[in-house]
């Protein structure tokens, strides 16, 4: 019989002999590695998932013309900036062209015209860039619709407009007033409540600023890369534009992610420590229980290293199988976390599986080192005499 066959025969029989102790070690590794692999699976997705979640706070990048070179942006420039982001990164982008319009007030008896800030934009991007806006009515998603207007809550109240009303407005570039149908009223809690919104193309015509923009807002998912650095790179690459992070949003994103990461590291350390302790104390008991067997093997000619290798192999087998089972359960756990917290699946990462497998073997070996080192101290002459 080949030596390794006898070796495996002894290892497998030894593991079968102490089912309850083996079960404790196995269970400790499965639970420890399960939780750690679940956390790591979530950890590697958390940047993307959290960033997606935080997109509900709205845009995190603002595009403006570089004040040294131009007063306005062009749609082309916006498209060039957008091309710097992948489809997965880009949640949405909304261009803005501002101007002043005279809007007929329905409240005063004489129906006088009042100046209102006019914004040309794309309505289909509002829920991506400003998801917190309260919208009453419907926003048209077609960029080509020319006769619909969306008004801010304050404008609606001050000038006496409601959904379905006809709103007359004029700019200094138009001959007389043009009529638009109010299709939605937005309540934003900021300056946008005092504005009226039309499709970008319509405002370009009304202000005679074809193809021009004042600003654009972008909502971008950062995949681990610092958004500020990426914006700086784009600014360097594309002249005439200035892409800035919206500090309030971008920095709170970073802070939340950093805190979650720190918490996860702490949890992983605590779990690793408790797994180590559990495996170590159980291995200590196993070595104590098998003291006579160790002494016998040494009396029969086994060297310390032979016996230590046998014990460490048992630990490696338990660690390896426990690690794989733990990873499997951890992956299922990660899916449950993903579903309940982010409402999406957590991606399979072979790197996490390999790391869990290696970590479980390392943990079980480290945990066994102290107990197994006691093999050296076992004196066959004393132990076999029962002293």
């Amino acid at each position: 019989m080949k030596k390794w066959k006898m070796f495996l025969r002894m290892i497998s029989q030894a593991l079968k002999e102490r089912k309850s102790r083996v079960a404790i070690v196995f269970f400790a590794i499965v639970v420890g590695i399960g939780v750690i692999s679940a956390l790591f699976s979530v950890y590697y997705d958390i940047n993307i998932k959290m960033s997606k979640e935080l997109r509900t706070y709205g845009a995190n990048l603002a595009l403006k013309p570089n004040s040294d070179q131009a007063q306005n942006l062009s749609l082309n420039e916006l498209e060039r900036v957008i091309a710097e982001f992948s489809q997965e990164e880009l949640v949405g982008y909304r261009p803005n062209l501002y101007g002043i319009a005279e809007v007929e007030s329905q409240v005063s008896v004489f129906k006088s015209n009042k100046p209102v800030v006019l914004v040309g934009t794309w309505f289909d991007q509002i829920d991506k860039i400003n998801p917190y806006w309260q919208i009453e009515g419907e926003l048209s998603i077609n960029h080509d619709i020319k006769d619909e207007v969306v008004i801010g809550r304050d404008v609606a109240e001050k000038l006496g407009y409601d959904i379905g009303d006809k709103l007359k407005l004029a700019t200094e570039n138009t001959w007389g007033s043009e009529e638009f149908l109010v299709t939605a009223i937005v309540e934003t809690g900021d300056d946008a409540d005092n504005r009226i919104f039309l499709n970008l193309g319509v405002v370009e015509r009304l202000l005679a600023k074809e193809g021009q923009l004042n600003t654009a807002y972008l909502s971008v998912i950062s995949k681990g890369e610092d958004l500020k650095e990426k914006a700086a790179k784009i600014n360097q690459k594309l002249s005439g534009v200035e892409l800035e992070t919206i500090q309030k949003i971008a920095s709170s994103e970073g802070k939340v992610l950093d805190k979650i990461k720190s918490l996860m590291y702490l949890v992983v350390m605590v779990i690793l420590l408790s797994t180590l302790l559990c495996v170590s104390t159980t291995m200590m008991t196993i070595v104590a229980e098998r003291k006579e067997e160790i002494a016998l093997k040494k009396a029969l000619g086994a060297e310390n290293q032979d016996v230590i290798i046998e014990f460490l192999t048992e630990a490696i087998i338990l660690g390896g199988i426990g690690g794989l089972v733990g990873y499997g359960l951890g992956f299922v756990g990660a899916q449950l976390i993903g579903k309940s917290v982010f409402d999406s699946a957590i991606s399979f990462r072979s790197m996490v599986m390999t790391s869990s497998f290696i970590l479980s073997i390392v943990v079980s070996c480290i945990a066994s080192t102290l107990p197994v080192s006691r093999v050296v101290d076992i004196d066959p002459a004393v132990t076999l005499k029962g002293e």
Binding site: M1, E17, L300
Partner: protein, 219 residues
């Protein structure tokens, strides 16, 4: 040259406790020697020295020409593995291995496990039919016979038996004694520690120890 030579061997513990005190003896190839004496007389100490599980404080212990007095633990293990077959009073079998696997363990640490040869060794002690039984399924006598098969499997120069019949009933004692007699007839060298004068008398030579000193020998 004898198989085992002890020259003025002493083993001193804690500075002044003399477990063995200036003992000299020689055991020849093929000889069966029994060591007898009361508890604390130094029998176990002598057994440990000859079994390479300890080294003397003074004197020289030679096994098959090798002076083990200055060997380190690793070298002692090697000599024990190569030269000595051990039989214990409490049998000491690996509880989760079958009879044949217990015999193979000794082969494994010596060189190469050979199941066929291990089975033959069990047949030699009359236990071929019990080869696949665990120690707990065997009687005391059967367990001791497995130990003897294990001790023989690597063709040792010396069989070192520590009270091999001490834990056996009369019937099993006789079986084991018969086995030792047969082994001796086949030319094996045997050193047996025993309390039992009847078993001790079966040896060619008896060495009596008391307070660590060799009192008498019948030859």
């Amino acid at each position: 040259m004898g198989l085992i030579t002890l020259e003025n061997v002493s083993k001193i513990y804690d500075g002044d406790v003399r477990a063995l005190d200036d003992v000299s003896l020689e055991i020849k190839h093929g000889e069966w020697v029994s060591i007898m004496g009361p508890s604390g007389s130094g029998k176990s100490t002598m057994l440990n020295l000859i079994g390479c599980m300890d080294t003397p404080s003074k004197g020289v212990v030679k096994i098959d020409g090798i002076d083990i007095s200055k060997l380190n633990k690793k070298e002692l293990t090697k000599v024990r593995r190569e030269k000595i077959g051990l039989v214990f009073q409490q049998f000491h079998l690996v509880p989760y291995l079958t009879a044949v696997e217990n015999v193979m363990v000794a082969q494994y640490y010596h060189s190469m496990a050979d199941e066929e040869e291990a089975l033959k060794a069990l047949e030699r002690v009359g236990l071929g039919h019990r080869a696949n039984h665990l120690p707990k399924e065997l009687s005391g006598g059967e367990q001791q016979r497995v130990c003897i098969a294990r001790a023989l499997i690597n063709y040792p120069k010396l069989i070192l038996a520590d009270e091999p019949t001490g834990n056996l009933d009369k019937e099993n004692e006789q079986i084991v004694v018969d086995l030792f007699e047969e082994l001796h007839r086949q030319g094996h060298s045997i050193l047996m520690v025993t309390h039992d004068p009847k078993v001790g008398q079966l040896a060619q030579r008896q060495i009596i120890l008391e307070h660590g000193k060799k009192l008498e020998s019948n030859k």
